[in-house]
């Protein structure tokens, strides 16, 4: 139906047909009000369903573009961008919890959980409730919680009650209110100082501090927590680049990758995070200087990048990938399956910094061709010309995505992030599902994994990507994958997270 609609709407050249133009535009080529209302949201953003249409018109009908004041995607994103402190103000408007643990109450609760554990407590510092929020870091923490149980530890995760898009500021709340989750169960709330004094009171239990994220926390209080634990060091995961910039995926104005230039650069001066980054950097420097930090990077490429961009003082650095893959010969060669058409997938949430807009553009360009486009995600994307498969990855079903990739016989996964991903579960899910990955050179561990495994291709830019699909190259790569898949199987192993580093 969608393909049919496209056929009657556009010429083969991609130019919109006359009836379509007359429907959308007045004679002077300005857009009719009802078309504008239909295609655009109130905030000026194009509705995803109409993205492909507008892209076609933009690409093929300059006379229409010059007659109209279309708001481009970049401008629309900026229209919704608020100054950082305005976002903080909105987020902090949530009232404080009605009940906060006293020291004795919290001590009692933790002691209760400690019954039956011998090895000690892991205090895991993060920014949200990993049991309720879906995401790569949250999955890591959930997996670590399972490992803690296996290794005889109590797992206490803390995250700020008031979520913040930056570090906490002492002037707004000198003693952070935290949510406590113990062994996967919500415990309640306390002040950070209460937890610090409880931790200080544990004379015998071994306490390990693992930092997964510091968003919303006061680094000064985390230092106190580390000191209270009487451990000389703490573990610090490089899940992203929050230690370098509050814009943890290094997106300038939430729009483009910045590469973490110097704080006094134009790029930072003109960024919504720039002003905050100045104090953020000083506080991070002080935090790293005050503690013995053992860095854990989920990839070599992240470690290398982080070292090149950060002057933070640390005790040690190890690389522990969350997942490792082995490609082994199959016991018996399976038949080459050559389903038509070539299947191209996008995995996960449709967000710009993961390359969703590039995928959507690719769909718009090649919907009529021999490619089949599939989106595998939790929510259905509002986009035409794709098949959607509902996939939710949880700690109980960690392989849901790779299995879906495999079951759907996906040939190529487009993973085109706009920042150097520190690990990229998506990439490993794609590879584990026997698909190949298409990415760009700035994608961090995505490109590194493609290079290391030889399963996929790294293309310079979007122009090269579109040419790759226009030519026969995408088909050739997919056929190569199918051939290899008939002789090779993929085995994946998950790490033990922080337990691979703790003695």
């Amino acid at each position: 139906m969608n393909v049919l609609l496209k056929k009657i709407s556009f010429h083969k050249s991609g130019k919109p047909r006359r009836w379509l133009l007359r429907l959308i535009f007045k004679k002077n080529l300005t857009v009719r009000p009802f078309s504008r209302k239909l295609a655009y949201k109130k905030n000026g953003m194009i509705r995803p369903r109409f993205r492909a249409f507008t892209r076609k018109i933009e690409a093929t009908s300059p006379e229409v573009i010059s007659a109209n004041q279309f708001i481009r995607e970049e401008e629309a994103i900026l229209k919704t961008l608020l100054p950082l402190e305005s976002i903080v103000h909105t987020w902090r408007s949530k009232s404080d919890p009605s009940k906060l643990f006293t020291k004795s109450e919290l001590q009692k609760e933790i002691n209760k959980a400690l019954d039956g554990t011998h090895s000690g407590i892991i205090v895991s510092v993060s920014n949200d409730n990993y049991r309720r929020v879906t995401g790569g870091v949250q999955l890591c923490i959930e997996h670590e919680e399972v490992q803690a149980k296996t290794n005889g530890f109590t797992y206490l995760q803390i995250h700020p009650w008031h979520a913040l898009p930056r570090l906490g500021h002492i002037c707004e709340e000198p003693d952070t209110i935290i949510n406590l989750v113990i062994n996967g169960n919500d415990l309640g709330c306390s002040r950070m100082s209460t937890l610090i004094s409880v931790v200080h009171g544990f004379d015998e239990a071994r306490i390990e501090i693992v930092i997964h994220h510091m968003l919303g926390h006061l680094p000064e209080q985390i230092t106190e927590l580390i000191q209270a634990s009487r451990r000389e060091s703490c573990l610090f995961w490089l899940h992203d680049f929050f230690s370098i910039c509050p814009s943890y995926t290094l997106q300038r104005n939430k729009l483009s990758y910045c590469g973490a230039p110097a704080v006094d650069s134009n790029s930072c001066e003109l960024c919504v995070f720039g002003k905050e980054r100045v104090s953020h950097s000083l506080r991070m420097e002080s935090f790293f200087r005050s503690n013995h930090i053992k860095i854990i990077s989920p990839s070599e490429v992240t470690a290398k990048f982080w070292l090149s961009k950060s002057n933070l003082i640390f005790e040690s650095l190890v690389v522990i990938p969350h997942v490792s893959l082995k490609f082994l010969p199959r016991a018996s060669i399976s038949k080459i399956v050559n389903p038509e058409p070539i299947r191209i997938a996008y995995l996960g949430a449709p967000v710009r910094h993961k390359g969703w807009t590039v995928f959507a553009d690719l769909v718009a360009e090649f919907a009529e061709s021999d490619y089949q486009f599939i989106v595998m995600s939790q929510k259905s994307p509002e986009i035409d010309f794709v098949d959607w498969t509902n996939v939710t990855v949880t700690a109980n079903e960690p392989n849901a995505m790779s299995e879906s990739v495999s079951n759907n016989q996906v040939d190529l996964v487009l993973h085109w992030p706009t920042w150097p991903e520190t690990f990229s579960f998506t990439t490993f899910e794609a590879l584990a599902g026997a698909a190949y990955v298409i990415t760009n050179p700035g994608s961090g561990n995505v490109a590194a994994a493609v290079q290391e495994t030889g399963r996929g291709i790294i293309l310079d830019d979007e122009e090269a990507l579109f040419e790759f699909f226009r030519s026969n190259a995408a088909r050739k790569l997919a056929e190569g994958r199918r051939e290899e898949n008939s002789t090779t199987e993929v085995i994946q192993n998950r790490s033990r997270m922080s337990f691979d580093s703790l003695n």
């Binding site: 010059s66 004041q69 900026l78 590469g259 230039p261 110097a262 134009n266 960024c271």
Partner: protein, 342 residues
């Protein structure tokens, strides 16, 4: 000897001027920054130099003495704030510490050091920046109309910026410019003039040692975006066509500016980011005590708005100028009363 910079504004543009001064101060902490203010502060607001990035203030009264009101009445707000630029330039050039003087419009923000242009003044008396540096393609009719034809109408150089040294030629220019602006700084495209700007088409003809600066990093604005692209280099420095962005001219903050930017920046996201930043900066530099559109000289002293035709009549009639020395006054035997009787 120091570099002196100045800008000219009324209090309704103080927010923009503050952004200029802040960005200028950031890159040139040692410069002397002057505020030329053609206005009186609104009730309740005080312009306190100790909390501003400006070092010194010049008022219209300092430049025009007792003739100020009579002279100012002949101008609308844009004409007045541009007409003072000539005498203000002479005033600052007379300062014994001023080695070189640079003018910036208040709606400019500086992003990188201006050292190159200052060095140019070792060899040139006057530096001007054209609106456009590259011709539009023959098929881009709208761009030719919007940019090239508009430059022919309004002046080929943008007088949001000018830099001079202390040479004899620079002083000769300042005198000529101040003279013309005293008498003929009006928005009168019908007779071929546009405030202080179009006069400067004549500068390369009348004066020697004039440098027409053809560096795309200077005076970037909607009128030249069709030929300029902004990117960041690896160090995060803003680049325009591969040259460092020195200053951007945020002309027409609002729907008109948005329209022109959208038309010519197209998908150059960095330009939209720049505007986003500017809007936030202006907003945070805005003082709520200054009413929107405030201009003391926009009304008679009884608060009645002065319309343009009242100003034009006064400036065209020598007899009215002689009869009413302070045309802002109201009451018996005033220009206001005379107008009422007509």
């Amino acid at each position: 000897m120091k570099i002196h910079a100045y800008t000219s504004f009324s209090f309704s543009y103080l927010n923009r001027a503050r952004v200029l001064a802040k960005t200028l101060r950031r890159h040139h902490p040692d410069w002397v920054i002057w505020a030329v203010i053609t206005d009186q502060h609104p009730p309740g607001f005080e312009f306190d130099l100790s909390i501003e990035n400006f070092d010194r203030v010049i008022t219209a009264e300092m430049l025009f003495g007792e003739d100020t009101n009579s002279w100012l009445f002949k101008h609308d707000i844009v004409e007045a704030c541009t007409a003072v630029k000539g005498r203000a330039l002479q005033y600052i050039m007379a300062d014994p510490t001023a080695a070189k003087v640079v003018y910036f419009d208040p709606d400019i923000a500086v992003f990188n050091q201006m050292t190159e242009v200052i060095d140019l003044l070792d060899n040139y008396s006057i530096v001007l920046t054209p609106h456009q540096l590259d011709p539009e393609p023959a098929t881009h009719h709208q761009a030719i109309r919007d940019n090239e034809i508009t430059s022919l109408d309004y002046g080929v150089f943008n007088l949001g910026f000018i830099a001079v040294n202390q040479s004899h030629e620079a002083h000769r220019f300042a005198q000529w410019w101040a003279d013309r602006l005293f008498d003929l700084c009006h928005d009168r495209l019908d007779i071929g003039i546009f405030v202080d700007q179009k006069w400067c088409n004549l500068v390369p003809c009348f004066f020697d040692d004039v440098k027409v600066l053809r560096d795309p990093g200077y005076n970037v604005a909607s009128w030249n975006l069709s030929q300029r692209t902004m990117l960041y280099d690896e160090a995060g420095q803003a680049q325009i066509n591969g040259r460092p962005l020195r200053f951007y001219h945020f002309t027409k903050l609002g729907p008109i500016g948005d329209t022109m930017t959208r038309r010519y920046a197209q998908n150059n996201a960095e330009i939209y980011e720049l505007w986003w930043w500017y809007r936030q900066e202006v907003l945070s530099a805005t003082d709520p005590l200054i009413p929107e559109g405030w201009w003391y000289y926009g009304t008679f002293d009884n608060g009645v708005k002065i319309i343009k035709s009242m100003r034009v009549l006064y400036r065209d009639r020598r007899d009215l100028q002689m009869a009413f020395k302070d045309p802002f006054e109201t009451g018996l035997e005033t220009y206001f009363n005379w107008l009422k009787l007509q």
